[in-house]
Amino acid sequence: MSIIKRISNRLIDILLSIWEFIKKLWRHPKGRVGLIMVLFLAFLAVFAPLIAPYDPYDVTQRAAKGLSPSWNHLLGTTITTGQDIFSMLIYGTRVSLLVGLVTGIAIAFLGAILGIIAGYVGGLADNTIMRIVDVMLVIPTLPLTIVITNLFGKSYFIIVLIFVVFGWTGLARVVRSLVLVLKNSNYVKASELAGGSRWHIMTKHILPGVSHLLIMNTALTCAGIMVAEAGLSFLGLGDPTAISWGKMLADAQSGGALLFGHWWWIMAPGIGIFIAVFSFMRIGLVMEEILNPRMKASSGIYKLFKTLNNTYIQEVFAKMDEGNEDLPKGEAL
């Protein structure tokens, strides 16, 4: 079998398991709400030009500056250029979803590959990957992003790249510690004894064992990345020509929305961010509930905090939860 065919077979496996998850999610009442919300946002993003009543890039409406909400302009117009805020809000979905999804999926791939290699192959590979993780963790991400956009120009491509380069570390650590457990399980040992190759064991036995973690993590990462993207766009680090919710907030602040009391100009993008992040989080939490029925919704949040916050704490928590002696940080320098 050629390597391409092998990889494509695995990809089909992954897609099938994602489809299984979506079906399970649909059967769960809370999950269905999250799924519908995400599909709705995706619909808005794809058909934005058809839905939006005005052209949000049209900055020449001098007569229509700073209008209050009315039936003509559902959320009014901007004070500075007279753009229709409702249309901007719909177009803003595109950047948020695209950056969130692309980053989330890329992180899942990178984190899975590196985490599985570190955990299963061990030795030098493990050491190298974990040392890189340690360095990544101490570099401040936001300042680095600012420097990199300063060096190479402002675009969402660079932002996604930085998110991916710095985002895989947390997932890789979690995957690694799970792989260390799986490695000692009987079915993996049996496969080793039967002469299974490393590739076979990693993709056929280890990957399915961590896939639920990956899918859940992707949903939660998407949520976290969308907040981070809004922050960067707010600072003006995104593509200056694109319309995004973070940039709308920055425009509102600099354009005098606060001064003139145009609260709808601030609330609209803020609520957009909230809905998008909330629906992805909902999906992630429900997935966790489905995967681990013992776990109540409450501990789902606790897990979420472990995902969003520092990874070292995660490990300490994980160790405390499981009584697992294999605390990755404490072992071999």
Partner: protein, 332 residues
């Protein structure tokens, strides 16, 4: 705690520091052959000869006229003397002086944020854990879902709109005289906290909920332990069980969380500082970015990374002090 463990950890921290330092040295040199081109990008109306002269001057001024390796050793030896280079600002002030000047103002925000989040979070979390499953608990649960989805800078904008512009209770922008007229008198300190109120509140809403959630989970985890059951079975009072047996053991993860948040004390508020025009490290960094002030930017980055490394080290050492199993695991 074993001495070898401590030494190993310290050496490792130094190793990480050197990796970060090297990255820091090379980042402004990415994508150009001559760092002078970064420091002085070509202007539109400049002839080639003029630009060559300018580049030559820039090279001499910033020590780029020697080999890259020599530049690197110069950089490292400068750092050993706490010399982070000079900023591009008027009169080329030292980067370390600029950092020292802005650091206290950022700490005003971040330390008050930490104190408020931690103290209120501990109380809320303990209450929620004690009233597990009742309305206090489910309220916290719902709040924590909401707070993750509401970015701090959006909260800051709303607060600044409502309390700053509508009610005019607190200043929506920091008074620039606050810094220049600060003289440690009680009035000056009052002015500082009056100006800092909105930034601190907007930062600490997420922090309070985060620490509450952590405390709640940690307390619940400890409540399920057998020694708490024993304490109850011995007939100790509710208060004694809670304060003497449960809370004390539940503090371990909280201590770690606080330790890890130390690194965020310095760079954690860039956006909030920008919204309220607060005179801290975050705005200093954004200023440096707007003027392409690379020595200042990289100096701040290195400073932040160093703090993060130190915080990691402190957490590891304290944790092994609190929980001896970690150093034992090291021996394997």
């Amino acid at each position: 705690m074993q001495r070898s463990f401590v030494i190993k950890r310290i050496l490792y921290a130094i190793f990480i520091f050197f990796v970060v330092l090297t990255l820091n040295f090379f980042i402004p040199r990415l994508g150009v052959n001559d760092p002078a081109e970064r420091y002085y990008p070509p202007q539109g109306n400049m002839s080639e000869i003029e630009y060559e002269i300018i580049k030559q001057v820039t090279r001499e001024q910033y020590g780029f006229d020697v080999s890259t390796f020599k530049q690197y050793t110069n950089y490292v030896s400068g750092l050993l003397r706490f010399d982070l280079g000079n900023s591009f600002k008027a009169d080329n002030p030292k980067v370390s002086d600029l950092i020292a000047e802005r650091l206290p103002w950022t700490l005003v925000l971040s330390v008050s944020n930490l104190v408020i989040s931690l103290s209120i979070g501990l109380i809320f979390g303990t209450v929620a854990a004690w009233k597990r499953g009742r309305w206090q608990d489910s309220l916290l649960l719902n709040l924590s879902t909401i707070s993750v989805a509401l970015p701090a800078f959006f909260i800051a904008l709303i607060l600044s709109f409502y309390f700053g512009f509508e009610l005019e209770l607190f200043p929506a922008y920091t008074n620039p005289n606050m810094v220049s007229q600060f003289d440690w008198s009680l009035d000056a300190i009052k002015v500082v906290f009056y100006n800092a109120a909105l930034p601190i509140i907007s930062m600490s809403i997420g922090g309070i909920i985060g620490y509450s959630q952590r405390t709640r989970n940690s307390v619940i985890a400890v409540t399920n332990e057998e020694f708490v059951l024993t304490a109850r079975a011995k007939g100790l009072s509710q208060n004694k069980v809670l304060f003497k047996h449960t809370l004390r053991n539940a503090m371990l993860p909280i201590v770690t969380a606080v330790g890890m948040s130390l690194s965020g004390l310095i760079g954690g508020a860039v956006i909030i500082e920008q919204i309220f025009n607060w005179n801290g490290m975050g705005t200093l960094f954004l200023e440096a970015n707007n003027t392409n002030d690379y020595p200042l930017m990289m100096g701040i980055m290195l400073f932040m990374s160093t703090i993060a490394i130190l915080a990691n080290l402190i957490v590891e050492l304290t944790y092994s002090l609190l929980d001896p199993r970690i150093t034992v695991g090291e021996k394997r």
